[in-house]
């Protein structure tokens, strides 16, 4: 990006001034970053190794097909069908994503194009507080308020729908703030250009700004999806945790994360290994999502440089 010759030219810049005995600020920083980088790599590798090692007995003793074709999930009598949990995880997180993304987009658009600056800054502060809220609060509120309400529509109340609603509410602050940041980084001249052409606010926002930051919107949505997929305590509290395929949005479901939480404390060795396999599947999905976000942000030639 910056020309190295230009940045090297001011010889007295702080980064290059010796701190004594030939040690420079740059040198210290380089070592510190190398250590941080090394630790980050080691931690990811160790996590992957521990999960693989934990899941190995299950992969060795139970054939792959059985995780899809066994009649049910009853590890105590050696039935290991994991499809309901996989479907449960995918349905809740996709559902939350579908619900949360338009709302987040609307919030971010409001903060940047419709509200006056004071109202927008208050709104952002509220979002910050909500994003920082421990998820167990969402779960408890869901169980005591949302679940009984849904129960009046159709028993038992704890359901796929309850999970989707609470998870959407939980990820909206994060995705809204991410999209909001992308909007606020739009170059002034782009906006001024749109207004000079006589575009209305709605036209500026939805036909220009949204198109320019579309990658940011997409990666914000994917990060929200990752958060919904990994969420545990909320889904344990409001989805009912029944290990069966749902037939409607009012049916209870169990996610992969909930499966681990519910049973790991009581599990015999082979049962524990199958729970590690649940974690392995989640780990692979999460890694896939992260790589997708990375690709979108760094491999993009079409986007206007903001």
């Amino acid at each position: 990006m910056t020309n190295p010759q230009v940045s090297a030219a001011p010889a007295l810049s702080r980064a290059h001034r010796p701190l004594g005995s030939g040690v420079t600020f740059d040198g210290v920083l380089r070592v510190a970053l190398a250590i941080a980088f090394g630790f980050a790599c080691i931690i990811v590798l160790v996590v992957a190794f521990v999960i693989l090692q934990g899941a190995a007995p299950a992969l060795a003793q139970i054939s792959w097909a059985r995780f899809l074709t066994d009649p049910d999930w009853h590890p105590m009598v050696e039935m290991y069908n994991m499809t309901p949990m996989l479907v449960g995880s995918v349905l809740t997180s996709i559902g939350a994503l579908v619900l949360a993304t338009p709302v987040s987009l609307a919030i971010a658009a409001a903060c940047n194009f419709y509200l006056n600056p004071l109202a927008a800054s208050i709104y952002r502060r509220i979002l910050f507080v909500m994003a920082a809220m421990p998820t167990v609060i969402f779960g408890f509120w869901g169980l005591t308020e949302v679940v009984p309400f849904l129960g009046q529509i159709k028993a038992p109340g704890v359901s796929l729908l309850a999970g989707v609603l609470i998870l959407a509410l939980m990820i909206i602050p994060t995705t809204a703030l991410l999209i909001d940041v992308a909007f606020s980084k739009l170059p002034r001249q782009l906006l001024n250009g749109a207004y000079a052409l006589g575009a209305s606010r709605a036209q500026t926002c939805f036909t220009m700004a949204c198109v320019v930051v579309r990658r940011a919107i997409f990666s914000a949505a994917l990060l929200g999806l990752g958060r919904a997929l990994g969420e545990t305590i909320v889904v344990v509290m409001v989805t009912g945790n029944k290990a069966a395929l749902p037939t409607s949005i009012f049916d209870p479901i169990r996610t992969l994360t909930a499966n681990v939480t519910l049973e790991i404390g009581y599990a015999a060795p082979l049962h524990t290994a199958t729970l590690f396999l649940s974690i392995l599947i989640l780990f692979m999905i999460a890694t896939g999502l992260a790589l997708l976000v990375y690709k979108l942000n760094f491999n993009d030639n079409t986007q206007v440089d903001v």
């Binding site: 090394g38 590890p75 169980l143 679940v147 599990a267």
Partner: protein, 274 residues
Amino acid sequence: MTRPLRPLTTVFAICLAFTFNAANKASAEERLRLTGSSTVAPVMQEITKMFEDGRDVRTFVETGGSSKGINDLRKGLSNVAMISRALAESETELTAHTIARDGIAALAHSDVPLDVLSPDQLRAIFTGTVDNWSELGGPDQAVVVISKGEGSATSVVFNTFLGLTADKIEGDIVAAENAQMIKTVSVTPGSIGYVSIGAAIVDIEFGTPIKLLALGDVPATLENVANGSYQATRPLSLVTMGEMSAGVADLIDFSKSAAVSEIITDLSYTPVTQ
């Protein structure tokens, strides 16, 4: 490539040094680690507080389920396991020291019209043969069956009492632990689950809309657990492997003594000394 590795090793060395330092400081006193049942852990937290008083012992009580307790003990990660069920056939090399008994009862939302269920009726409900309260003489209302995570001590004791295996249970909802079971029953009309009597009594006194159902003719009360007339009970035990150290033997004797019976009764369990 090799340059950044040298600082890395230094950091590891410093961490190691701290660890050894901490281990040396602590070696003056005996350290006992107890892990296992989430039902027994609160009892042992209170008991060990009293036990540490005047002794040169430090205890660490951690929860995570009976099976985790057994695993930790076998791997030598703990000194004592806490379990809220009887030892299984595969665990006969271990020794259980029962300190209290706990009853397990069917728990229903207050709007459920029945107060008494026979073991046969419970079996029909939990296997899904009965799915409407009208079939048991109540109003036309769906039965919502709430069970606990597969392998949990409460569910093993309850299922065994009814003569059922885990795959026969047709639950609508699965709760992770006692508090969630109670909360879920209280917000779900027409629901029925099962729970430790001790855990439920506190909430009933607090006004939570739940009730314990009598089993056959015997009401689920602490008195009936104590006098032996209530049948669905389980032992709460400390488990040791092989020879006990002096500290462990001391703790187990103390936990079974009359000195702690008030702690156990306060937590709504029944001490074995009675």
